[in-house]
Symmetry: D3
Subunit: 285 residues, 6 copies
Amino acid sequence: MDSNKLTPSEVLIDALEYIKKFRDQIFVIKFGGEVMVDEKVLDAVAEDLLLLRYVNIKPVVVHGGGGEISAAMDKFGKKPHFVKGLRVTDEETMDIVQMVLAGKLNNDIVASVNKHGGHAVGISGKSAKLFSAEKVANEEDVDLGFVGEITEVNADLVRTLVEKGYIPVISPIGIAADGSSLNINADVAASKLAVELKASKLILLTGVEGVLSKEGKLIKSLTSEEAGNLIASGVAKAGMIPKLTECIYAIKHGVPKAHIIKAKKHSILEEIFTSEGTGTMVEEK
Amino acid sequence: MDSNKLTPSEVLIDALEYIKKFRDQIFVIKFGGEVMVDEKVLDAVAEDLLLLRYVNIKPVVVHGGGGEISAAMDKFGKKPHFVKGLRVTDEETMDIVQMVLAGKLNNDIVASVNKHGGHAVGISGKSAKLFSAEKVANEEDVDLGFVGEITEVNADLVRTLVEKGYIPVISPIGIAADGSSLNINADVAASKLAVELKASKLILLTGVEGVLSKEGKLIKSLTSEEAGNLIASGVAKAGMIPKLTECIYAIKHGVPKAHIIKAKKHSILEEIFTSEGTGTMVEEK
Amino acid sequence: MDSNKLTPSEVLIDALEYIKKFRDQIFVIKFGGEVMVDEKVLDAVAEDLLLLRYVNIKPVVVHGGGGEISAAMDKFGKKPHFVKGLRVTDEETMDIVQMVLAGKLNNDIVASVNKHGGHAVGISGKSAKLFSAEKVANEEDVDLGFVGEITEVNADLVRTLVEKGYIPVISPIGIAADGSSLNINADVAASKLAVELKASKLILLTGVEGVLSKEGKLIKSLTSEEAGNLIASGVAKAGMIPKLTECIYAIKHGVPKAHIIKAKKHSILEEIFTSEGTGTMVEEK
Amino acid sequence: MDSNKLTPSEVLIDALEYIKKFRDQIFVIKFGGEVMVDEKVLDAVAEDLLLLRYVNIKPVVVHGGGGEISAAMDKFGKKPHFVKGLRVTDEETMDIVQMVLAGKLNNDIVASVNKHGGHAVGISGKSAKLFSAEKVANEEDVDLGFVGEITEVNADLVRTLVEKGYIPVISPIGIAADGSSLNINADVAASKLAVELKASKLILLTGVEGVLSKEGKLIKSLTSEEAGNLIASGVAKAGMIPKLTECIYAIKHGVPKAHIIKAKKHSILEEIFTSEGTGTMVEEK
Amino acid sequence: MDSNKLTPSEVLIDALEYIKKFRDQIFVIKFGGEVMVDEKVLDAVAEDLLLLRYVNIKPVVVHGGGGEISAAMDKFGKKPHFVKGLRVTDEETMDIVQMVLAGKLNNDIVASVNKHGGHAVGISGKSAKLFSAEKVANEEDVDLGFVGEITEVNADLVRTLVEKGYIPVISPIGIAADGSSLNINADVAASKLAVELKASKLILLTGVEGVLSKEGKLIKSLTSEEAGNLIASGVAKAGMIPKLTECIYAIKHGVPKAHIIKAKKHSILEEIFTSEGTGTMVEEK
Amino acid sequence: MDSNKLTPSEVLIDALEYIKKFRDQIFVIKFGGEVMVDEKVLDAVAEDLLLLRYVNIKPVVVHGGGGEISAAMDKFGKKPHFVKGLRVTDEETMDIVQMVLAGKLNNDIVASVNKHGGHAVGISGKSAKLFSAEKVANEEDVDLGFVGEITEVNADLVRTLVEKGYIPVISPIGIAADGSSLNINADVAASKLAVELKASKLILLTGVEGVLSKEGKLIKSLTSEEAGNLIASGVAKAGMIPKLTECIYAIKHGVPKAHIIKAKKHSILEEIFTSEGTGTMVEEK
């Protein structure tokens, strides 16, 4: 059925059912670089976040920022270096990561929401020890430096903000036992936070329409087992692998549904409030 | 009377009186660059903040960061330029300001507090529209760029954090109507916030012992009128002028006491909990 | 603009704005005989009431029942007799009125809602003295008998039911000082109740599309002054006169908007949640 | 001991003990046709209900109405037909049952209480799905029609009304899965509701003084076993059998005491507040 | 009408009306020496206090103790000395007064109530500064010593106890600014406390039936003006004068009714819960 | 380390740690005769109680009074008589005990606290049946009379007072089933109350510095086992034996720490808020 052929009443009836279903629930939404690179996209997505609050859905944003970090390092005259997909992060690089994520991108998202009101609150994962972390082990004898793995999620602050009607916007920076900052993967941070918050949905906003089949067709729905097979069989590639991995993680740990959808105008609303949706939904069989 | 000659019981009795007096009250504490430049000082001050929470005093931190900003600009190959003491702030400079303040310094303060627990929460003045602002007028026909004046303080978020037991750590960045960031003077942000929060104290941590008389002696207590005279007569100089100005502002708008004290180990505690104090206190006659 | 040409997203955006606007507000909806005469219409309207509750709108139903009363009188071998549009109501007739309204029609509406859940609660205006009333004066020297005018509305019971998530369904029977039942006009009961409850809307469901102009075209929007003129000029006729009169009364006493719409599938939803609407809306200029 | 010989103080002391004991507890009181046939009796009983509320006892009324139903059927030209004591109830008869119970008798009781205040709220068992029911099986190959058995009692609405200080007055009409009305025995409805509400007492108001022994003497107190024996031995006859059956049911399911007393002026008060009582009390040994 | 001729139902109906009227209200009851001199009387009165709590009336007891004090002084070899009816109270005498009132009599009353439960809590007027007082001026050049007048009533403690379901039992000892104890007249303490607590009744328990007329007949009801006339005309004599004076004081300051009744079994209940009463009631015309 | 050599800051830091630790906790403090015999000591201790309330510590006082009782008996011409350390208490003696404890000493303590505010509330153990008790068995065939052992502690009243910010001051008088008063050992009453209240500390104020070793040196810290050994080995003598016994009892029943310290100016504060303390602390190993 094509939702464009629904009458307004039918759209309404559908939407009302979903609104009832998701009322008072938390959605964790991860913004990839694609959201932030284009101000129009960011503004459209911000508008959708506000609309979710109208019907008492509680969005929580975790953002990434790979591209901007490399650009900033370039300005500082530093060359990005990766080992097994992980950025080697010396102390100066960590300062840059932190400045770009918590200083620039976080404030950009907050600004985009708040020019229509005061709902967004930007924090880093160090605040209230949201993401306690420790350094990852060396890879190939290379000290990866300030790259961290989350050891504990303390989401009380996020719950407080959400209950008070705010939209938390979170930079994925962890805090080590000695207080130092650690660089955390944003997809991982989002899925762990979704689990801790008992969110109803994990939504990963990306630059593509969703997960594609071997034939290059959008897959609308996947079980976590099928998602695993896509990775194993090599159909899912590159950046889609960690996304599917985190969707599987979230679902295995109690989040009912995870979505991979394209960051564009109203794509969140269409995914949530229409039976057809717009991207790929992963759920347990 | 020299408080070093008090017996422990006398120190206790004094302290208990002050603890009773300040219970459940908010202190706005401004960290100047001197606090953050030395990790030992920062750690000592952070420890004091936690001790204040033990006795139900509610500290709120606003931080500055002039020195670090100039250093970062230097790395980016930009030269600081000031007109009448105000930093000319083009868009790229504003990005740097924001990255240094909200990205680096804010997270450093949060880390220093949170390695002993999870009490600090770092936010910028854009979150929840804490500091709505607009651009200042040109000075000497020079467009100062992204330098802002606070037009409205919306402290609901800060109140929520404080009530929940957190210590807010605030970067002085304002949000313009179009969502863009504006550079706000930290002393001004601290005094306006103190007024809005009906704080009991505004405490400015600096690099010097307090306000000095013409003879170079520490002045322990000043009325706001006397503070004004020190400025008018030229005894107060340079960086002390805006500090005294903000103390006077706070006091004229209902904050009972304002303090200028040196950032060092336990100086906050000694100022608050002993009758002698350590720096300069300004109050209405 | 034709709302059938809106994309689903546009319908959603519109609807979300209205949902935000009307959240937690009370709508008083009057069911005319046209709603109850056709079980399919009744079921469709009942479904809409449940959908309103999904988004925290609080519907309160007042129903009439002229046709059914006359039919029942006929069965009892009594002939309806009207003076100036008011039914002459002797004691036996009042018994029949009460039995049809509170015994039959009220239970039919409750059943239609409750087969999908347990939200509807049927009461008469005698319960908790919802509608205190006294007999109207004679007309043309005819004792109209048990025909009443509302002297006081005590809506505490209705508020309690609404707060607990129930949908009150109210038969317009008043209670006299001596406890006897009085026959109350349902449009009047609905508008007085809307005023007392500070409802956001009074919605009169009828058998026609709305108010028609002299040219027989649906008028989508009217000020209360224009509504008065339609009555004065004779354009509004017969049954539409008391409906417009009660819309004007409600609006003059603080209800922001009153609607006259056709009782049919989803007409309530379309009137409330789309900018175009389906019937006639009356509001202060 | 004859309570008429007690001094006023002794009556008071007794009453105060009972008032303490029953404070904040629910009594389910069933009104038989005898209460409603005589307006003076109804008014006297209504007054007692109000007095119970003065001392924070919470009466809930369930009413029957056999006689009135037959009279109304007669007016409609229909002949009552019974199989094994159950009224054969075709659709038209069910309409009449509903109109008499929920339309007339319920409103009469509400009126009698509310002319002294606004405490009574009349509802049918269809409201908020209070009595979910299904049709009883055929008896002697006769389709009994709309005669129902309670399958579930949902008393949330009743609890809400009682907590808010109202006196619920309930017509024993059940709601089937398809929303249709089913005729429910009032004694059964009262005892099932008493059990669901964890009432302290089930009180059946009848036309006789209480249960009589073989010798025709009033039995003041019975165990449930003795009550069963009275039925088995044929001493209890006709209408007393279902009353005793429901008393036994209530007691077996946790209601501490069940009473069968004559509907007359202050008989409820005397039964509750004096040690002697006026009718028959059934309790577990 | 003789309440002994009322049927139990009539007694009940009367009582229920009063119970409704006085629910949740405070009665201040003063125990004279007559209550405490006879253990049987004390026990009967204690039982009545408990019965009042059953129906949510909140008794507060203030007790006197003249006779016992003189007896104790005698044991200590001290001779009572009075000037204008006021006991000359040197420091040793004050110690005796305090020991007899707060040490012995207060504990006796508490014991009498508490052997039936734990409702009574004995305190002196020094606790929580219930009765702040200062020494009265000399009379006839005699220093009356530790005789005090109440300067402030701080009844927060009493309210707390009453709200928690306790029956406060209060010894009329005042606290001076320097912490010393002052002897306070119990009738005065009771009437001032009744005013401060906004009590519904002040009840003075005495050794006589009530106020007598010139002819020696019990007066059942008096206005405050008539009470004043009885004092002025000399009909009221000796101990009745201060009692009437305090009744008038209480009534002039907002206590609706004051009672003077004989301390005997159930006299409090009969005065409160029957329309006839047992002693003298004073109220504004 | 000598706390007199601490700087004020160090004293403060120490104190703040303890204040945090003990916030909202109850300390039961027993006043021996030494506190009450000297008004200056009593005033100094009272001041400390108020200071504890400043930092939300909740002191509860139980007092003794052996010396005063004997003195009062002497005045009444009665000779104290002891069997195995227990005072033989005939009815007249019990009256004197009660008058001295609840009448005199309790009011003296209350006065000492309340001349600085209204925080103290004096009660006996009979109020609200705080200490239910029964007579102890005969010793050496002597009827000890009104000497009691606590059979139940009902501390609801004390909890209420403490929550409302009051400082309860309790006379150790028990209530027997028949309401009569029983003489209770104050150390025992204090330790049982500490256990019931789940107090953090039991503090026994005495006339000596603390527990002394065989060599006559103050022992600063003891395990309960070591405390038992001191009794068994005869090092602890006379009045110290019951004190140590009650410290052991409290600790065995969940009170973390028990202290025996000298009643003098600020000794309570120094024991609680400095790491060195002033007397002997008993705790589980």
